[in-house]
Subunit: 240 residues, 2 copies
């Protein structure tokens, strides 16, 4: 049951927590690349993180989860809150005005969506092959962009992504362990590819393996029998 | 220049970001104990974390810093944002009503301070001996409480403290390094006392020392000459 998150509501924002918004940074992993999900607004050329507002009868976390579902079609992913952005310099009413205008909404200056917002930011880490995208009514597209080839984004969204990436890279072992980026069982090489994509650098195989095994987060299983057992790699899973 | 943060403002909250508040968890260390700063509101028996609201012309971080200064007298401490609390269950207008009433403010039901707030929470880590407390006009007291002997608190403030403590205990090495809990030079024993107070458990001297030296955050200096050089402890500082 999708709720329409951004709609031509009353000027005073009745039913919403005015001055509060959220943004979601969804990191995806495919073909050895780290990517981010971005949306383009109809007829504006404006590209942004999927975001939205909070209804007065919703928990913040719930609003973010449902909002991402409405805007992108992605369901059931775990989003982790990482920072709230509250500088007054991020107030740029002309951007929101442009988006509303392009959707046929003529908002007066005192409209709540044109006031200053703080934005609570969340991130998630998903396996791109397991999600299907479905942009909402306000957007032309909802697409994965490689982290090294991001387009120009509205407001402070580039800063939001930078902070999300910094948070993700910090204490990465536990985050990858808790994500669903890898199947239940995987090889050391699979694991190394994930780390390299997120850290944005190549790692030495031997020292990566040593570090991973020392971290005690991995459980080693029997080699997969392939007829050439001496060449088959060990299979691992994460300790629960 | 103290700004009055909570004052009988207009019912619609003009000049403030309605629906947004902040709370600050100030951890203090003295006599081997970890403590938290709490305030008691006049004639209510209500005890709370120092918190407040954000003016439309202030950055969020600035509002929190100035707000803490106004409410407690503590100046120039570095506050780190750690979580934004946004569950709808935290909306308890009767508590705010009671605080306002006790200060002679009769707020109608639609008053902005009686609406639902999300609260952006910050923490700081200070050396108690370096701060002097000065409660604001709304409060009877502003006092350090031992972490193991906290009184009953309003709203979800106990949860806020629990989360702050969890954040503080995570990646503690860097946090202690960046705090001003210790003088520039200290002994291994001084350092161990700080860790023990924060973690809430006694640590074995030998394994603590081994772990600290392995972490490469410490720089060892010459022993302080005391006439009994063989007994004098090594002196350390943090690598910058």
């Amino acid at each position: 049951m999708a709720k329409q998150k951004v709609s031509p509501v009353s000027v005073d924002g009745a039913g919403f927590l005015t001055h509060v918004a959220y943004d979601s940074v969804v990191f995806g992993f495919s073909e050895g690349q780290l990517k981010i999900l971005l949306m383009e607004y109809h007829n504006t050329g404006l590209i942004a993180l999927p975001g939205g507002f909070i209804r007065t009868d919703e928990d913040l976390d719930e609003a973010v989860r449902l909002g991402l579902e409405d805007r992108t079609g992605i369901t059931n992913i775990y989003l982790e809150q990482f920072h709230t952005f509250g500088n007054k310099s991020r107030h740029k009413p002309e951007i929101l005005q442009k988006i509303l205008e392009a959707n046929g909404i003529h908002a007066p200056k005192e409209h709540w969506m044109l006031q200053r917002f703080i934005s609570v930011a969340y991130y998630a880490l998903v396996d791109i092959s397991t999600v299907s995208l479905q942009p909402d009514a306000l957007s032309d597209s909802c697409t994965w962009y490689e982290i090294n080839r991001l387009p120009k984004l509205i407001l402070d969204h580039a800063t939001v992504i930078e902070k999300a990436l910094k948070t993700l890279r910090f204490n990465l072992d536990n985050k990858i362990k808790d994500s669903n980026l890898l199947p239940e069982k995987f090889t050391m090489k699979d694991l190394q590819k994930v780390y390299e994509a997120i850290l944005g650098e190549e790692l030495r195989r031997t020292s990566f393996q040593r570090k991973m095994l020392a971290g005690r987060i991995l459980k080693r299983h029997d080699k997969l029998y392939s007829g050439e057992a001496h060449k088959a790699p060990f299979i691992y899973s994460f300790h629960k």
